[in-house]
């Protein structure tokens, strides 16, 4: 895509926890040729409602259109683009790194600095768990690279706005006991 006014957008959506919602939302982005950088879905404080956090690169005007289209989807309750909102972002990463008895100590030091944890130790490798925003994860990755990254997986960015701004249902959820379909 041409580099015109493309910015990174972190979009949060509250959606009904139902089958088909993810497909509809993914389709909105794919139909416009957007590549989703990361997508995280999970339950909220309310089991009937899921929250999706989507990170995409794109032109502001096109993203505004996508936000409106997201709002149009029946199962989408609320949408917020955090691009101009102070907010926190976190991504959890698991990295399996080649490690021997000789360099394990060095790895532990790096983990300390990043407040990462070693969650599994084997003869030739360790698994490191770290959380942080994209920058931090990238920095950790750069330092781990020389050891040999064997496998890596990430949960995708989740985000919350700082302070008073909240993305919640404006009304208490009725416990109707309706079955999810």
């Amino acid at each position: 895509m041409a580099e015109k006014n493309e910015f990174r957008h972190t979009i949060s959506c509250l959606v009904e926890n139902r089958a088909g919602v993810l497909a509809r939302i993914a389709a909105l982005f794919s139909a416009r040729g957007f590549n989703i950088n990361s997508l995280a879905v999970g339950e909220t404080e309310n089991a009937e409602v899921s929250r999706m956090t989507i990170v995409v690169q794109g032109d502001d005007r096109v993203l505004e259109q996508v936000e409106k289209q997201l709002n149009k989807l029946i199962d989408v309750i609320k949408v917020s683009d955090y691009k101009n909102t102070p907010h926190l972002e976190r991504d959890l990463v698991l990295v399996k790194v080649t490690a021997t008895a000789q360099n394990r100590a060095e790895l532990i030091q790096i983990c300390d600095v990043f407040r990462a944890k070693i969650v599994d130790v084997a003869h030739e490798s360790v698994i490191i768990e770290a959380t942080g925003d994209e920058e931090k994860i990238q920095a950790l990755r750069d330092l781990l690279e020389p050891f040999g990254i064997r496998e890596m997986c990430r949960t995708g960015i989740v985000a919350l706005a700082r302070g008073a701004k909240e993305l919640t249902l404006s009304e208490p959820v009725k416990k109707t006991g309706q079955k999810k379909s």
Partner: protein, 577 residues
């Protein structure tokens, strides 16, 4: 009371006020059809599921009620796709019910299984796969609510056969609401005030009215608004009938093949009041050069339509049913004699016209439609297919009333016109229903003539037969150096060489439409010259059977004027057709 899923479906449809369903049954829809057998709901068995969707769609557009169609699983469901996409683009409220294979075999590539909800998702406003018979009432209620409110559109419900058979307690839900679906109906009072202020200060205002005015039944209040603020009105293809064609403020259709004066008015107005439109590329031409001197007010129920293509100065999100009466109240009485005079002069410079140069054995299509318009006083219900004939129909059949010009505007679905005529006639049996079609478009769905005959609905079909896919040929003629690839019905592969095109008077057309009409037991009339037109139409109006009028049109006929795709409205080609 305990009922089967199938009984619940039919009971819900009855309570939703459904009088008619279009469709075709199949293996896994049998439980529902077994209940429909004893139901007062009329079932119209079509020849193809696509026909059923267009009928339901046009039924909805003609009546303002929700249209319903149904199909079985697999191929039945996939055949609905084009019809649903057509309805989606033109905001037509329909419900499509498909059956699905048994819940426990979904995903196993069972016989006639297709992922119907997955396939329909991009072409519907919403859709459901019902996995529990206890959900049926809620799902059907929600489907009707979603289809008919906000920006209307098609909703699809997929129901596995075991859900139709399962028994459960029937509990009607009186008041239905969906927390994540609350269309904004009231326009913001401040925005309406701003709009009224802009209208008050405008010197050259123009009302640009579209399908939203038709769909919301607000033509009357739109007319009053135009009159009070003395604003000329141009309509889109979908807005044909939003104001009576003989109203002094009506200036015509705009867009790629619109009237010269309308496109000039767009380019020179200082205020554009857009109501129920979406600034389609066929209307705006090149966006950067679109209506450069105007402020823009855009009233629409769909926030995503606003600011999508054209930046708006005063957006008003809301239902025209609420916004227009408020705006009417808020606007000042104005008068713009200079502006109207200017437009009148422009119209006189280049009126919608065509050359009187009928070639021997051929008739000008514009003449035929103009004649039809005169004879019916613009009051017939006209449907069209897609192509040149559709544009000629738009140019020469300006409707007197809303819901009387039904066409596939957004998707441009060839074949739409004929099944649409059947659906529309069922919604308005008292109307004269005329389908204006082309030979290419008509043949895509003409199998439905059997449906029309069997269901005893009278349709007058005018097929302009130029033996070519005329609109595509026109583009080849103008923009592809007359290299006629795949557009000639009479040449192998459709390929013709400029100067050596096949002569329709020597090569027989397949099918022979007169014999075809005879085979279906309807009246066939062939028209080869201008003096046969009036008597053919008279005969058609009098006939108690459906009629097919085949009009020989020369292959070189073009739709003019024309704004080339992607060009600015100022670059209109004015060669007379």
């Amino acid at each position: 009371m305990e009922m089967t899923g199938a009984q619940i479906i039919v009971e819900c449809l009855k309570r939703e006020g459904v009088k008619i369903i279009f469709g075709i049954p199949g293996g896994v829809t049998l439980p529902m059809f077994d209940v429909l057998y004893d139901s007062p709901i009329r079932f119209v068995l079509t020849k193809h599921e696509q026909g059923a969707t267009h009928m339901a769609d046009a039924y909805a557009r003609a009546s303002g009620r929700v249209g319903v169609c149904t199909a079985t699983s697999g191929p039945g469901a996939t055949n609905l796709v084009t019809g649903l996409a057509t309805a989606y683009m033109d905001s037509s409220p329909i419900i499509a019910i498909t059956s699905q294979v048994r819940s426990d075999v979904i995903g196993s590539d069972a016989f006639q299984e297709a992922d119907a909800t997955g396939i329909m998702r991009p072409v519907t406003k919403h859709n459901y796969l019902v996995k529990d018979p206890r959900d049926l009432v809620r799902v059907i209620r929600e489907a009707f609510l979603i289809a008919s409110t906000g920006r209307p559109g098609p909703v699809h419900i997929d129901i596995p056969v075991d859900i139709q058979r399962a028994k459960t307690e029937f509990k009607w839900i009186e008041n239905i609401s969906i927390r994540s679906y609350r269309p904004k109906l009231e326009g913001h009072p401040l925005q309406i005030k701003k709009a009224a202020d802009l209208i008050a200060s405008a010197q050259r205002p123009l009302l640009y009215a579209g399908g939203g005015v038709i769909g919301s039944d607000t033509a009357e209040v739109l007319r009053k608004l135009a009159e009070k603020a003395d604003m000329p009105v141009a309509t889109t293809l979908m807005g044909n009938g939003a104001i009576p064609f003989d109203h002094p403020l009506y200036i015509g259709m705009l867009g790629m093949h619109g009237k010269y004066v309308c496109n000039k008015a767009i380019q020179s107005c200082d205020l554009l009041v857009a109501c129920g439109v979406r600034f389609d590329d066929r209307v705006t031409g090149k966006l950067s050069a679109f209506s450069p001197h105007s402020k823009k007010i855009h009233i629409d129920i769909d926030p995503s339509s606003i600011g999508k293509n054209v930046m708006t100065d005063v957006p008003v999100v809301g239902d025209l049913r609420n916004v227009l009466p408020r705006l009417l109240e808020a606007v000042q009485k104005k008068s713009h004699p200079e502006w109207k005079k200017q437009l009148k002069q422009l119209d006189q410079q280049h009126p919608m016209a065509y050359k009187d140069d009928d070639k021997k054995g051929y008739v000008k299509p514009q003449y035929v439609i103009d004649k039809l318009h005169q004879m019916t006083k613009g009051e017939a219900l006209v449907t069209t297919g897609v192509g040149q004939h559709q544009m000629w129909a738009m140019q020469w059949y300006a409707a007197k009333r809303p819901r009387h010009f039904i066409t596939s505007g957004g998707l441009g679905t060839m074949g739409y016109g004929f099944p649409a005529a059947i659906g529309a006639k069922m919604a308005r049996p008292e109307d004269t229903v005329v389908c204006i079609d082309g030979d290419g478009s008509f043949q895509m769905m003409m199998t439905e003539m059997a449906t029309a005959v069997r269901e005893n609905v009278k349709i007058i079909v005018i097929v302009f037969n130029n033996c070519v896919l005329g609109m595509v040929r026109q583009w080849q003629d103008l923009f592809y150096n007359q290299r006629f690839a795949a557009t000639y019905q009479l040449a192998p592969g459709g390929r013709a060489v400029k100067g050596a095109e096949p002569d329709p008077k020597k090569t027989p057309y397949v099918p022979d439409f007169m014999k075809w009409a005879e085979a279906y037991g309807i009246l066939g009339i062939r028209v080869n010259s201008r003096n046969q037109v009036e008597s053919a139409l008279k005969q058609a109006f009098k006939s108690d059977k459906s009629v097919l009028i085949e009009v020989s049109v020369h292959q070189s006929e073009k739709v003019m004027p024309m704004v080339p795709a992607g060009a600015s409205l100022d670059e209109i080609i004015l060669d007379m057709a």
